[in-house]
Amino acid sequence: MTIMKTLLGATAITAFSALAASAEPGLIIDLGGKFDKSFNESAYNGAQRWMEETGKSYRETELQSEAQREQSMRRMAESGANPVIVLGFANASTLEKVAPDYPEVNFTIVDMVVDQPNVQSVVFKEHEGSFLVGVLAAMASDSGTVSFVGGMDVPLISKFACGYAQGVKAFNPEANVIVNMTGTTPTAWNDPVKGAELTRAQISQGSDVVYAAAGGTGIGVLQAAADEAILSIGVDSNQNYLHPGFVLTSMVKRVDNAVYEAFAAGEDGSFEPGIKVMGLDNNGVGWALDENNAPLITESMKATVEQTRAKIIGGEIAVHDYTTDGTCPAY
C-alpha cells in the first residue's frame, strides 16, 4: 500500500501540475457523433474556426454512451482543459454534479441552464428561428400541409416544432402541420432510417415541406424528402448543400458561434458565468440562404421573411416559447 501511495502521489503531481499552465479549451462532442451534419458538427466547426484563426489547439473527446458523461467531463477537467464546453441538455444533471468539484475550471453548456458560479449556460431562441422557416414553408407549400420531424421527444424539440407551426399558421392559418418525434431516448438523435420512414409517412399524408430538428436523424429526413422530390428544411448547421434544389432552407442555430465565443472568452479571460441567450437579434439563430437554395427562394418569400424577422426583433410579433408553459397555441 505504501508503495502504491508514493507511486500515486508522484504521478498525481506530474499529471495535474500542468493544469493551469496549458489551459487549452476542451470540447465534448455529444452522442450522435462529430459529423452529424447538424448540432455536433456545428459545434465542431466553431472549434475548428477558432483553431484556424488563433493557430492554437484544443482538446476534444466524443461521448459514446449516457453513462460516460461524468467520466468524460471529469477527464476533460482533470486534463487541464479550460474552458470546457459540453453540448446538449442531457449534460445538465451531470454538470450540476461535476462543476462544483472543479471551481477553477470554467464550463459552458449549450441548450440548458445550469446554475453554478463557474458555468455559463448558452440557450437559443429556437422558436424564433423556427418561426421564420415556418413562414417560408407555408409560402413554398402547394398542398397546404407541411410537417415536422423531431428527434427525441423533449420540450426543447417541441419548442422548435411550436415555433415552426406558429410561423406556418401566421402565413396560412388554414395550413395543416404534422408533427412527429423519432423516439423517447437519446438514440432518437441518430436514427436516420426511422427519420426517413416518418418523412415518407408524412408525405403520404400530403406534406410537401418537411422540417427536421433531429440531429443525425435529420439526414434520413432530408434524404427521404429529396428522394420523394419534396422540400425539406435543415437544422442547426446550414444543410442546404446536402440536397441542392430540395432543401428549402436551414434553421441555423449558431452553436459554432457559441463554441467559438466560449473558446475566445477563455483565451482573453472574459468568461462570464450565467445565462447567455442567442436569438435573432444577435444572430444566434436565423435562416440560411446560399447558392444551393437561391432558386427556391422567390423575392417575395425573401421579403416576407426578412420583414417578419424585423418584426420579431422589434417585438411586434411575439413567438410563444413552448418550454415556458408546455403548451403551443398553434396546435
Binding site: M1, M4, K5, L8, G9, T11, A12, A15, F16, E60, T61, E62, Q64, S65, E66, A67, Q68, E70, Q71, R74, R75, A77, E78, S79, F89, A90, A92, S93, E96, K97, D101, Y102, M112, M152, V154, P155, L156, T184, T185, P186
Partner: protein
C-alpha cells in the same frame, strides 16, 4: 489426471492468453498506423499510473466483481447466466427506488437498504428464466439473453414515462438526495491521493465482502456443496437427493442478486441517479471475468481488476490518442475476452503438452 501444476492452470495460462491478446491488439494498432508501444503505454499509465486512473480502474473493477461473481456462482451449477446485463439494470431500478422513496438520514442506512433493493430486483429478474429452466427445461442461455432485451425496454419505458423528473428533458431520475449518496474515495481515501473525481466508492468494499461471502457459500456451506455437486453431475445429484429445481432456483437467485448489486456501485455510488444503460456492458464483461477467474472469487477479483484497468486504460487511450477510435478500443477489449475466454483451449493444449514432456523428461 492432472497434466500440469495448479499454478500453471490458474496463473500461467491466463497470462499467456493476455499476452497473446495484447500482441494481436498491438498488430491491429500498428495496422492503422499508430505506435503500439505508445498506445500500450497510454493504456497502462491511464489505468494504474495515477490516483485518478486507479479511481476509475477500481470503480470499473467493482462493477466487474459483482457481475463476474454472478456468472461464477451460476457456473458452479453449470448454469450459463448471460443475463447479468438485464439483472444489473433491474438492480439499478431497485437501488434507485430505495434511494428516492425514503429520505435517508445517512448513507450508512441507505447502503444496506440499497443493497437489499438491488439484490432483490436483480434476483427477481433472474427468477423467471430460472423457473423456466427448472420447470420447463427452457435453456437458460436463451431466456436470460431475451430478458436482457426486456430489461432494457422496461427501463427505457420507466425512465421516459415514470421516473423522469417533471420538466426535465433527460430520461433519468432525479439525483439521489444527500443522505443516499455513498462516500467516494475522496472522502475516505484522500490520503492515498484520490481526488474528488474518483468514482470509486464504498461499494468497492461491498464487492470485496461479496467475494468472501461467495467463497464461503460455494466452499463452506451445505448449499454450496449441493450446488457444486449438481454442477458436476445432475444424475449424481439426484442420486444424493439433491433436488434440481431447488438448486437451479437458488443458484440463479443468488446470481441475479449479485448482478443486481452492481447498481450499488454504478447507480448509487457513481451516477447518483438512474440513467439509461447504466450497466454499460458490465454484465457481459462479467462472463469473461468469471471464465478468466476460473469461477473462483479470488480469480474473479483479479480478473475484474484486469478488466477494470483495460476499461480505464481504453478510455484514456481514446482521450489521449484520438486516432485510435472508440471502436478500436472495443476491438482490444474484445480480443482480451476472446483469448481468455473462447480461445482458452488453444493455449491450454500446447501448455499441457509442454508440461507432459517436461514430466516425461524428468521421470
Amino acid at each position: 489426471m492432472d497434466t500440469m501444476p495448479r499454478w500453471a492452470d490458474i496463473a500461467l495460462i491466463p497470462l499467456i492468453n493476455l499476452a497473446l491478446a495484447l500482441l494481436v491488439s498491438a498488430l491491429v494498432i500498428a495496422a492503422i498506423g499508430e505506435n503500439p508501444a505508445e498506445a500500450m503505454g497510454v493504456m497502462i499509465r491511464g489505468a494504474v499510473g495515477s490516483a485518478y486512473g486507479w479511481g476509475y480502474t477500481l470503480y470499473y473493477a467493482t462493477n466487474f466483481i459483482f457481475t463476474g461473481l454472478a456468472v461464477a456462482v451460476a457456473f458452479h451449477a453449470r448454469l450459463f447466466n448471460i443475463g447479468g446485463e438485464g439483472q444489473a439494470a433491474l438492480g439499478g431500478l431497485g437501488v434507485a427506488l430505495v434511494c428516492l422513496m425514503v429520505p435517508w438520514p445517512h448513507w450508512s442506512l441507505a447502503l444496506p437498504a440499497a443493497v437489499i433493493g438491488g439484490a432483490l430486483f436483480g434476483a427477481a429478474w433472474a427468477a423467471i428464466p430460472a423457473w423456466l429452466q427448472a420447470k420447463r427445461g427452457s435453456h437458460i442461455v436463451i431466456t436470460t439473453i431475451m430478458f436482457n432485451f426486456i430489461a432494457s425496454a422496461l427501463l427505457v419505458y420507466l425512465l421516459v414515462n415514470v421516473l423522469k423528473v417533471p420538466g426535465s428533458m433527460a430520461p433519468e431520475t432525479a439525483r439521489f438526495p444527500e443522505g443516499a449518496r455513498l462516500p467516494s474515495a475522496y472522502d475516505w481515501g484522500a490520503w492515498m491521493g484520490f481526488g474528488r473525481s474518483a468514482p470509486l466508492n464504498v461499494a468497492f468494499f461491498v464487492a470485496l465482502a461479496c467475494c468472501v461471502l461467495v467463497w464461503v457459500l460455494i466452499w463452506k456451506t451445505r448449499l454450496g456443496y449441493e450446488i457444486r455437486a449438481f454442477g458436476q453431475s445432475e444424475p449424481a445429484a439426484k442420486y444424493a437427493g439433491i433436488r434440481p429445481v431447488r438448486i437451479i432456483m437458488i443458484t440463479m437467485l443468488v446470481s441475479g442478486a449479485l448482478a443486481g448489486l452492481m447498481a450499488v456501485n454504478a447507480v448509487q455510488g457513481e451516477a447518483e441517479r438512474l440513467v439509461i444503460d447504466s450497466v454499460q456492458g458490465a454484465g457481459f464483461v462479467g462472463i469473461a471475468v468469471a471464465l478468466m477467474g476460473r469461477s473462483h472469487p479470488v480469480g474473479v477479483l483479479l480478473a475484474a481488476l484486469l478488466f477494470g484497468a483495460l476499461y480505464q486504460g481504453g478510455a484514456e487511450l481514446e482521450f489521449e490518442m484520438p486516432a485510435i477510435s472508440r471502436e478500436m478500443i472495443v476491438v482490444i477489449q474484445a480480443l482480451v475476452i476472446l483469448f481468455t475466454g473462447a480461445l482458452d483451449n488453444m493455449v491450454r493444449g500446447p501448455v499441457e503438452g509442454f508440461f507432459r514432456r517436461l514430466r516425461r523428461g524428468a521421470a
